[in-house]
């Protein structure tokens, strides 16, 4: 019956090409616009590390101004001061943990043959790689002693290794960062978490850094943070040491807490730490320390922009207009075929069979419209890329979105077809007989 109905549907579409194109076009436009905005939205709300996102926690301590909370809604600041980050690193509760900040270097080959170029760097603990399951091509990260001793070692991204070493195994070789020699201990494989969840404060869709060096170097070389640095109270900063001892916040901190108990223990630990600090006259605000897993963190940092949400809302309203349009056209079309419906009823088709026949036709329109919509979404996304200029290789349709598009097209067209099909079968089959 389905193939029969499909054949009839196809003939019917061919019979009224303008009408059919109008309907396919309307669904296509609706789906195209929805898929474009939806793709951007899902991209922003993507879980960058799905199998582990609920075990990774961003750590926030409320060290802010007693008279003026960090945000109006009372959230603690997103980053830590250096001294608090140092203190938290002493805990043995998390399975892994890492304090980190973003910096930069001039990178050059060991013999200084090529001109140097600038690279972005992440200054962090060796746990960083295990914490975020960074894939390695060669070698690996470093241990705690390298962090403490500020060893001049480095992990390279795949892109930098390709550029400097032509993709060869460079572990054990040297490079120069700001004219100091560093030994390569690891080369990462392609790694591109999107959004860049571990540091959304400084560019939520930026590429990951290109080189990674031990945290101890940050203080040893007095490296400058390229990210935000915030303060709430006046402090005399006369030296780098003053800066490290200050309440300035600029360090991101992540802990891996695999189960509820560990999380509770850790929450108790950081609360205890802040209570002790309060005795020293720090942390003037009420206790307000937070552990946010990856998705909660993305939400808190408002990685999905309001604009994106507004556009999704408006595009679904637009789809609604397209569907209303189609309902009208289908109604006209189906009622125009009353003679055929009456005949089919007369020779024994049940109401349901007639409804089925029409829904198949509508479904076919939906599928064709969905295909058109995907094409339009493809174009739309190219446009979005060009407009925003920041999302480049991130904006793309994947299998899941393809499925959503087809499902949405089918579902919305069937919804649009239901009323016209129902109206069509209300016609009495008796209307055929001539003599009245």
């Amino acid at each position: 019956m389905l193939t029969y109905n499909l054949r009839l549907a196809w003939m019917s579409l061919r019979k009224h090409p303008v009408l059919s194109l109008l309907m396919i076009g309307a669904i296509g436009l609706g789906i195209g616009v929805c898929m474009t905005t939806l793709t951007v939205y899902t991209l922003m709300s993507n879980n960058p590390i799905p199998h582990k996102s609920s075990a990774l926690y961003a750590v926030q301590l409320d060290s802010w101004d007693p008279n003026d909370p960090y945000t109006e809604s009372g959230r603690p600041p997103p980053e830590l001061s250096y001294r608090d980050a140092q203190a938290l690193m002493e805990s043995t509760i998390p399975k892994r943990q890492a304090a980190m900040f973003k910096s930069g270097f001039a990178l050059q080959d060991a013999e200084a043959k090529q001109p140097p170029f600038t690279v972005l760097a992440r200054v962090t603990y060796g746990d960083f790689f295990g914490l975020f399951e960074v894939p390695f091509l060669f070698g690996g990260g470093w241990d705690r002693s390298a962090d403490r001793n500020a060893q001049q070692i480095v992990v390279l991204s795949k892109e930098i290794n390709d550029k400097v070493f032509g993709g060869a195994n460079s572990v054990g070789k040297n490079i120069r960062l700001d004219d100091r020699e560093y030994r390569v201990v690891g080369v990462m494989d392609h790694w591109h978490p999107s959004p860049k969840f571990y540091d959304p404060n400084n560019g939520d869709f930026d590429d990951p850094e290109e080189v990674y060096v031990p945290f101890g170097l940050g203080t040893a070389l007095e490296l400058t943070s390229y990210g935000n640095t915030n303060a709430w109270k006046p402090e005399k900063i006369n030296s780098f040491q003053d800066f490290l001892n200050s309440e300035y916040i600029w360090i991101q901190f992540w802990a891996e807490l695999p189960d509820a108990k560990t999380k509770d223990d850790y929450q108790a630990y950081i609360d205890q730490y802040v209570l002790e600090q309060k005795k020293l006259g720090r942390f003037p605000r009420p206790l307000n320390n937070r552990l946010s897993d990856v998705m909660k963190w993305m939400d808190e940092r408002e990685v999905v922009t309001d604009d994106s949400r507004v556009l999704v809302g408006l595009s679904f309203l637009f789809l609604a207009v397209c569907l209303l349009n189609i309902v009208g056209l289908l109604l006209a079309k189906f009622l125009g075929k009353s003679a055929e419906i009456a005949l089919r009823r007369a020779v024994g088709a049940t109401r349901w069979q007639i409804v089925q026949k029409h829904l198949v036709e509508v479904g076919l329109i939906g599928l064709l419209g969905g295909a058109l919509g995907l094409l339009l979404a493809f174009g739309g996304l190219r446009g979005v890329k060009a407009l925003y200029g920041g999302y480049d290789h991130l904006v793309q349709l994947d299998g899941r979105l393809l499925l959503i598009a087809v499902g949405l097209a089918l579902l919305s067209s069937l919804a649009a077809g239901l009323y016209p099909a129902w109206r069509a079968v209300q016609l009495a089959p008796a209307g055929l007989l001539k003599t009245q």
Partner: protein, 409 residues
């Protein structure tokens, strides 16, 4: 016109007896109106924000960063040498150093107070630009009071260097906030958040902060001090009108020649910086604009489709009317009145829907509420759209021969 409304009664009665089709079109018009008004309002809001001048002579200003990579460089000497060389180049108006640029999305901010006796919640937010005595010329800022920095006022050094007592130049908006009473501002003293005195020497017409999301975009000041730290410094250069694009690579080359042991990076024009910063605003406006065009097209096609269908099913009725003496104009008017009634019905619902949509967006997101004046304009547009869309099918109907009345089916 009178005839138009006289017709409305019978047409309305005909409409109410029939037609899911009319209801569908009316609903379509309602949603269209809601999207139209809100989208145009948002577009207009974004365009207005993008149009605010940054205060910088954006068309002629460009900037680049310098990263020395040999340890032991002397940044103060480098800057003096570089600046002298750039200023000597033909076509250059002025050049200087600054920690960041308006609308560049990175920089420094703090609070500023009228008295050293700081109370919580006092003071005003301000963006801080740490810079030298060439800042007015290199940025092309327009001085409205006082003077620029003098060479002897400029202090520079290590990390403590940007935290001392210095001269400051305020944006006009900030000056008005700090001195609401008016009168001359130059010569007064203000205080940064650790109570350090800052001496006002001038006021510029306009100077925007680095971040468009900054609550007080128009509140900013220049300070005559800066830190000698490559990551915190930008070379900012202003060319004679029209020479920017030619000069930018020349300056880059010159700097590289002066010292090969450094990386010259991120050469960018100020217009580029501002345009990139507003990319998401522009994107929003363009996407919404596209949606508007599409929705108007879809709704028009809907109206045309329904009218064409009605012409077809009423062929005999129209023929009969013609046979009974209706003129072509009467037939056209019938369809125009019908479309007007449908769009009006849609508009009635649409007005409510427009405000509902706005209410949702205001409550869910940080958007300003819809300006009500957009709604009547939207309704007017809908009426015109309805009349234009229905015109072609109506004229086709008017061309139907009266003889149709006597033919069967």
């Amino acid at each position: 016109m009178k005839k138009f409304f006289l017709e409305a009664g019978p047409v309305l009665r005909a409409l109410t007896r029939s037609r899911a089709g009319a209801v569908l079109i009316a609903l379509q018009c309602a949603i269209t109106l809601a999207i139209l008004t809100n989208a145009i309002f948002i577009i207009q809001d974004r365009v207005r924000q993008m149009a605010r001048p940054s205060g910088v002579d954006s068309e002629n200003v460009f900037s680049m960063r310098v990263k020395p990579y040999k340890p032991g460089f002397n940044l103060a000497n480098d800057i003096d040498r570089d600046m002298a060389a750039i200023r000597a180049m033909p076509g250059i108006v002025d050049a200087g150093v600054i920690n960041s640029l308006p609308l560049s999305e990175g920089g420094s901010s703090g609070r500023i107070y009228q008295s050293p006796d700081i109370k919580p919640g006092d003071g005003q937010f301000t963006a801080n630009y740490y810079t030298d005595d060439h800042s007015l010329g290199s940025l092309g800022l327009k001085l409205v009071e006082g003077r620029g920095f003098l060479p002897e006022e400029v202090k520079r050094g290590d990390r403590t260097a940007d935290r001392g007592e210095a001269s400051i130049i305020l944006s006009q908006t900030l000056a008005k906030k700090m001195f609401p009473g008016g009168g001359p501002v130059a010569g007064k003293t203000l205080y940064t958040d650790d109570g350090t005195a800052q001496h006002v020497v001038g006021v510029v017409e306009r100077l925007q902060a680095p971040w468009i999301s900054f609550g007080e975009l128009e509140q900013a000041m220049l300070l005559s001090q800066y830190r000698l730290e490559p990551a915190y410094l930008v070379y900012v250069i202003r060319s004679q009108p029209g020479q920017r694009n030619a000069l930018m690579p020349q300056v880059e080359k010159k700097l590289q020649e002066l010292d090969p042991d450094r990386i010259i990076r991120s050469p960018r024009t100020q217009s580029e910086i501002e345009s990139d910063t507003y990319a998401s605003y522009r994107a929003m406006a363009v996407i919404l604009g596209t949606v508007i065009v599409l929705i108007v097209a879809v709704t028009s096609l809907g109206i045309i489709g329904l009218a064409s269908f009605n012409v077809n099913v009423r062929r005999k009725q129209i023929g009969t009317r013609r046979a009974l003496g209706a003129q072509k104009g009467d037939i056209i008017r019938y369809f125009l009145v019908e479309s007007w009634l449908i769009t009006t019905g849609g508009a009635l619902v649409g007005v409510g829907l427009s405000f509902a949509l706005s209410w949702w967006m205001v409550n869910t997101f940080d958007l300003p509420p819809l300006d009500w004046r957009y709604v009547p304009v939207g309704v007017l547009f809908l009426w015109v759209l309805g009349q234009i869309a229905v015109l072609a099918p109506a004229r086709r109907a008017a061309e139907l021969p009266p003889a149709l009345a006597t033919r069967s089916a």
